[in-house]
């Protein structure tokens, strides 16, 4: 396994098509943990709470498995691995539908700090994040739901001791429980990708109003955050503009794609298992070709999406020049595969699949919300074409 720092400075390493033995062992360890900590009755219990996670489990996954800092360099208190390992965690969490502020803290906020922060800022923020002692999130999208940073309207105005933020962010994952907010905002009187920067502030600072939104997927909490002259620190420098924001979003798209293929795999497994159990017309329904062929197609779709998600992660890990395009490719592929698997899984269960007691809807809702989170498939297909220069 390689550290993330190495992977940034070594663009010549080849994209791998197989996980190493160490990575497979790491995956097994994460899966064992989740089998123990995130059975669906726990998912159901936690999704009904306001916080949406179990602090004890968060502590264990931080202290025993070092997961929030898996991709954070050792000098900032992390485990020093990279994008591939982060995506293994994402895939396993997606598979088990773990309720935890991981995507917000590790994937979104930690990467934003790594991409934009100064050495000093990384040293301040990252060790606590890696330890699991500080929850964080990234606020980019605004109430209009646009994932293109060019559309950002929140304004950062310079004042005597830093910046003041004004405006509204929405769809902020775990925005209601985060301790630290990383916010994308623009300089007054700028448009498009010009004048953008990332800012850091305490989530409980004055002028910050947070409201939990009623989300279709209760396993992923989202919040609206209003800023009314809230004091914030610039993360990094003003000159980097949109670059670290775009980079963070692309990394997040790859992690989300891996999370989604994990979920799709669970749905496929559930559909296959049920079709071997359920008897109609004197046969298990899995013996009907109409069912077998659908399951074979589902397997194909899931495996294809996995290949895209894995490839994008490996490409990002070795800093292949094409990796941002691949982020969009993987996100679009995984969105379609996940949602289709969820719809098929319900169909294969028949009436029981539409009930609250059956677990399928938990993953269906995650699939539906992930389909549009970070940009829907059509958005990413267009981005892919642009990035390929078509």
């Amino acid at each position: 396994m390689s550290t993330s720092e190495e992977s940034r400075s070594e663009p010549k390493r080849r994209i791998q098509f197989a996980f190493t033995d160490e990575q497979e062992e790491f995956r097994s360890a994460v899966r064992r943990f989740l089998n123990d900590k995130s059975p669906t009755n726990e998912v159901r219990r936690l999704m009904a709470t306001v916080e949406g996670y179990d602090p004890a489990v968060w502590r264990q996954l931080s202290e025993d498995l070092a997961l929030p800092g898996i991709h954070i360099p050792e000098q900032y208190g992390g485990a020093g691995f990279g994008m591939v390992e982060l995506c293994i965690v994402a895939e396993e969490f997606g598979r088990a539908l773990l309720c935890a502020p991981y995507f917000s803290t590790a994937v979104l906020a930690a990467n934003a700090i790594l991409n934009a922060g100064t050495d000093a800022q990384k040293s301040v923020f990252l060790p606590d994040i890696a330890k699991g002692a500080r929850l964080a999130t990234l606020a980019i999208t605004e109430p209009d739901g646009n994932w293109d940073p060019a559309g950002i309207k929140v304004v950062a105005t310079r004042d005597a001791d830093g910046f003041r933020l004004d405006g509204a962010k929405s769809y902020v994952v775990d925005g209601h429980t985060a301790d630290l907010l990383i916010v994308a905002a623009r300089a007054p009187a700028t448009t498009g990708l010009e004048g953008l920067a990332l800012f850091a502030l305490d989530a409980n600072a004055g002028g910050v109003v947070r409201r939990l939104l009623e989300s279709m997927d209760p396993t992923r909490k989202i919040a609206r955050i209003d800023f009314r002259g809230a004091h914030a620190d610039l993360l990094g420098t003003l000159n980097d503009g949109a670059k670290p924001i775009l980079r963070t979003l692309d990394q997040a798209a790859i992690a989300l794609a891996n999370e989604m293929v994990g979920g799709a795999q669970t749905l496929l497994g559930s559909a296959v298992d049920y079709s071997k159990l359920r008897v109609q017309f004197g046969r298990t329904i899995g013996s009907f070709q109409a069912i077998k062929h659908r399951l074979a197609d589902m397997l194909l779709e899931v495996e294809l999406a996995k290949s895209a998600a894995y490839y994008a992660a490996q490409a990002a890990a070795v800093n292949d020049p094409e990796w941002p395009a691949l982020a969009s490719l993987a996100k679009a592929a995984a969105s379609e595969a996940y949602l289709h698997s969820a719809a098929e899984c319900i169909q294969l269960h028949g009436g029981i699949g539409f009930t609250w007691d059956n677990d399928t809807h938990l993953w269906f809702k995650r699939a539906k919300s992930s389909e549009v989170f970070l940009g829907q498939p059509s958005y990413h297909r267009e981005l892919l074409m642009q990035r390929w220069g078509v």
Binding site: A18, Q289, K292, A296, L300, E303, L304, A332, E382, V390
Partner: protein
């Protein structure tokens, strides 16, 4: 052989090539040397034209050949499937009689498996072989036979026992194609090409010594052939381009390759030509249409994902890991890619898709894609059979209920 190092093998083959390689020999003369020395098929057993080397080392030998531009043994068409089948199930007499001429390219082979009445269900063959004196007398019809029009020998799957269950009444033969009882006719496809044949057997004769394996064991033998076919896909491996390729022997090899590949010039088109899509988008202006951009992106995502799935399968294999589901999906994925290509090429080509040949874009290549893609989801196992295989072998779903048990005589047929 396991103690032989790659360096030793490379040194040995280099020395042998230095002493023997001569581009002014005839193809058959040179390949005769290859067969007799074992360097043509180093992974074959020592006693049968090989050197008993593991596959990894055989690749090293191939590289040494490529480095000096040396021609290899004949590999095109069905010949290596025939050889693999004979190596596993053939008698010593058969190996002696056929293997060397397979490698020199003197004999060409074809495969008589599919019939008009048994396509997906190969074991339902009804071509019959009956023993009369020293000969088996063959009557019936085979179809989709590649290269039968210039083949010398055919691998024949024929029914010898109608009272046995389906798979137990078949026997495997090598049949001489050049005899009065074998009538080979080209089969014209919907894309205008005639890459295959239909073959009629009327009292065709097979000497007893050409029976492969034993009577009633034909399916087992055929499974060997099919397994090798699946492993090798239908790739027409191009000869290596390295080294000087100007000798007499290279001209002969080019002519041979040209002849072997001629009927399959449309094969790239049946796979959909995803490689043309981006260029066509720019040349047709489809890259300015938001709907077309979405459809092109969908296709490219599918094609790339399929490519990476194949790479995952290969990587797992190379690491000696048990094969995951990704290894069984290539054929079905290829069908999806080809169909999506056909849709997108049509979308980008617009009304010009009504044209064909020189009238049409890219000198008819686009039109040929549109009329060739339907073959992909049928040839080499239909999508439906692929889905059955995936469902039963990968997902472990129950097998299809059977209606073809008991004496084959009583099984419903076409």
């Amino acid at each position: 052989m396991s103690n032989v190092s790659e360096a030793d093998v490379r040194a040995e083959v280099r020395e042998w090539l230095a002493a023997n390689w001569n581009p002014d020999l005839s193809l058959v003369e040179w390949r005769g040397k290859l067969a007799d020395s074992g360097w043509g098929m180093p992974q074959w057993p020592k006693e049968w034209y090989g050197r008993g080397l593991p596959h990894a080392l055989a690749r090293a030998v191939e590289e040494e050949f490529a480095n000096v531009g040396a021609v290899g043994v004949a590999k095109s068409g069905v010949r290596l499937l025939a050889a693999a089948t004979l190596l596993e199930h053939g008698s010593d007499l058969q190996k002696k009689k056929f293997l060397r001429r397979i490698l020199t390219g003197e004999d060409t082979w074809c495969q008589f498996f599919s019939e008009p009445g048994s396509g997906s269900d190969l074991a339902g063959a009804t071509t019959r072989a009956e023993l009369q004196g020293d000969f088996w007398i063959v009557n019936g019809q085979k179809v989709w036979t590649t290269s039968a029009h210039h083949a010398d020998h055919g691998l024949l799957l024929a029914r010898t026992d109608w009272d046995a269950p389906k798979h137990e009444g078949l026997t495997f033969f090598v049949i001489d194609v050049r005899q009065p009882g074998v009538d080979v006719r080209p089969l014209k496809q919907m894309n205008g090409h005639a890459s295959f044949n239909q073959v009629f057997f009327s009292d065709a004769k097979v000497p007893q010594e050409n029976l492969v394996g034993s009577v009633g064991e034909g399916w087992k033998v055929a499974v060997t052939t099919l397994a090798h076919e699946r492993r090798g896909a239908d790739g027409l491996a191009p000869p290596s381009k390295r080294g000087a390729r100007t000798g007499r022997i290279h001209a002969e090899e080019r002519a041979e390759t040209e002849k072997a590949n001629q009927p399959y010039k449309w094969y790239p088109q049946r796979a959909g030509r995803v490689d043309l899509v981006i260029d066509r988008a720019k040349e047709t202006g489809a890259n300015k249409d938001p709907y077309a951009r979405q459809e092109i992106a969908k296709l490219m995502i599918l094609a790339k994902s399929a490519e990476w799935t194949a790479r995952r399968a290969r990587a797992a294999q190379q690491q000696g890991r048990p094969q995951g589901p990704e290894g069984s999906l290539g054929k079905l994925a290829a069908s999806h890619v080809a169909r999506a290509c056909s849709r997108v090429h049509t979308l980008m080509t617009g009304t010009d898709a009504m044209l064909t040949g020189h009238e049409s874009p890219r000198e008819g290549i686009i039109a040929e894609i549109l009329v060739s893609v339907p073959a992909v989801s049928i040839a080499g196992g239909t999508d439906e059979i692929q889905r059955n295989i995936i469902a039963e072998r990968v997902l472990d779903l129950p097998k299809e209920p059977r209606f073809d048990t008991g004496p084959f005589r009583n099984v419903r047929k076409n």
